[in-house]
């Protein structure tokens, strides 16, 4: 399908561009690692504590690090007026959005997959107990963050104070996904499966993803073109 092919073209372009300059991913990764370490100093958690806060800690780190990647998403198109060329090209706003969101998700996932073992080492925590499920939850939550972040990157692309505004706008909106991710991650890192009343969080996460992806695809063209 042309739509998917175009999405992939855009995603590949973004990834290639980012992997060559490595600006966003370096900033994001260093930021994430530094915060992880700082939290370790600040709270010096025992094994018990770590188990309780692992989800909250990790997702705060991922959310902060993610902002650096997501912010760049549309603003990288401003150099040389590339965004205009993309809008003038026969690609729909939603394909453009989806391609970028895919690239962002992969970049953020890469950062997260590096942070997990670092977390394991510095907090003396075992996190591989439920790894497949943990990975699935991470992918779902990362997609949720990415959809919102990429959309808002498009919304604020022309603004001067974009870097300051994006986090302020985006974090409150991500709360449902973050809450769900935190609850589930704490559970999974402790080695327990998702069951019983904890399933609502999984449902919330999936619902969040579906609803916001649909909204973003529907409104992308409006935001980008008018």
């Amino acid at each position: 399908m042309r739509f998917l092919r175009q999405c992939l073209t855009i995603a590949v372009k973004d990834l290639r561009s980012e992997l060559r300059s490595k600006e966003a991913i370096n900033a994001s990764l260093s930021f994430a690692l530094v915060i992880l370490l700082l939290f370790s100093f600040a709270f010096d958690p025992t094994a018990e504590h770590t188990r309780e806060i692992s989800g909250g800690l990790l997702w705060l780190v991922f959310a902060f690090a993610g902002a650096l990647i997501l912010n760049r998403s549309f603003s990288r198109e401003l150099t040389n007026d590339c965004l205009e060329a993309l809008i003038a090209a026969p690609i729909s706003g939603s394909a453009l959005f989806l391609g970028k969101a895919l690239a962002n998700m992969l970049l953020l996932l890469a950062v997260e997959m590096i942070c997990l073992p670092v977390f394991g080492v510095f907090y003396n925590a075992r996190w591989t107990g439920q790894f497949p499920t943990l990975l699935s939850v991470t992918v779902l939550a990362t997609w949720g963050l990415t959809v919102i972040g990429t959309m808002f990157s498009a919304l604020t692309v022309n603004l001067r104070l974009r870097e300051l505004m994006l986090p302020a706008l985006v974090y409150p909106m991500m709360i449902p996904a973050l809450m769900a991710a935190m609850q589930l991650t704490t559970l999974l890192i402790a080695g327990e499966p998702i069951a019983g009343e904890q399933l609502v969080w999984l449902r919330l996460l999936i619902g969040f993803d579906i609803i916001f992806t649909a909204l973003a695809l529907a409104l992308a063209e409006t935001v980008l073109v008018g």
């Binding site: 919304l155 706008l169 009343e197 919330l204 008018g226």
Partner: protein, 233 residues
């Protein structure tokens, strides 16, 4: 001209009605209703705390509908309505937050408690404050209207999901709750009806504020256009 007079008179009428209703409600609240068993006199704050919450929710819903209408019809007055509704909603949400904090302070001695409704009101407040921040940052009126309309739709969905999330969170990790309960969790009918009466009063106040704010938006747009005209000449 005639339309302006009619509009102004209606607004004055509404404002007077709201003031009278508020005065009557206050009288009943302070003198008519008895003290509540556990909480003493302070429980009366619920008559502003809860209706403010409801009114804010109504305003946000209005903002959602108005934003969606703007995107479909592209008429500037829908954008003005969305902006006005959000601002008025924020004002009432602030009332909800402040009364909640006072209430918590008096009952439990702490300024804040992660009570579900209070938490939700805070998140809502942050989300919609972001809406106003975005509006202020975009200069072109059409772009401002369009982008803030999209934001408003996202915001509403987000706060709806947040409500559910907080509810589930509080079910799994219970905490202090700002409520008044009777013998079986039901409320004294006199108190319950008072909540609704005061909600009506607050809605009237909200309507007046909304109308005034909308007129402001319209005038600001006209001035902006005149300014651009002047620059072009």
């Amino acid at each position: 001209m005639k339309e302006n007079n009619f509009r102004r008179n209606t607004l004055y009428g509404l404002a007077v009605l709201a003031a009278l209703l508020l005065a009557r409600n206050l009288h009943v609240i302070l003198r008519g209703l008895p003290d509540e068993e556990e909480q003493g006199a302070i429980y009366r704050i619920i008559f502003f705390h809860l209706p403010a919450f409801f009114t804010a929710a109504v305003c946000y819903l209005l903002a959602l509908v108005s934003s969606a209408l703007y995107l479909v019809k592209r008429k500037a007055r829908y954008d003005a309505l969305a902006a006005a509704a959000t601002e008025v909603g924020l004002a009432f949400a602030a009332v909800n937050l402040i009364t909640g904090m006072i209430w918590a302070r008096i009952i439990w001695g702490i300024w804040w408690t992660w009570d579900a409704r209070l938490t939700w009101a805070l998140v809502c407040w942050l989300v919609y404050a972001g809406y106003l921040m975005l509006r202020r940052a975009i200069e072109d009126p059409s772009e401002r209207a369009r982008n803030s309309a999209v934001l408003s739709i996202f915001a509403f969905v987000s706060v709806a999901l947040t409500w559910k999330a907080i509810e589930w969170w509080r079910t799994q990790h219970p905490g202090p709750v700002l409520r008044i309960r009777g013998a079986e969790g039901a409320m004294d009918p006199a108190m319950e009806s008072m909540i609704y009466w005061n909600w009506l009063a607050l809605l009237l106040v909200g309507a007046v504020l909304l109308a005034v704010r909308m007129r402001q938006e319209q005038m600001a747009r006209e001035i902006d256009a005149l300014r651009r005209h002047a620059h072009a000449l």
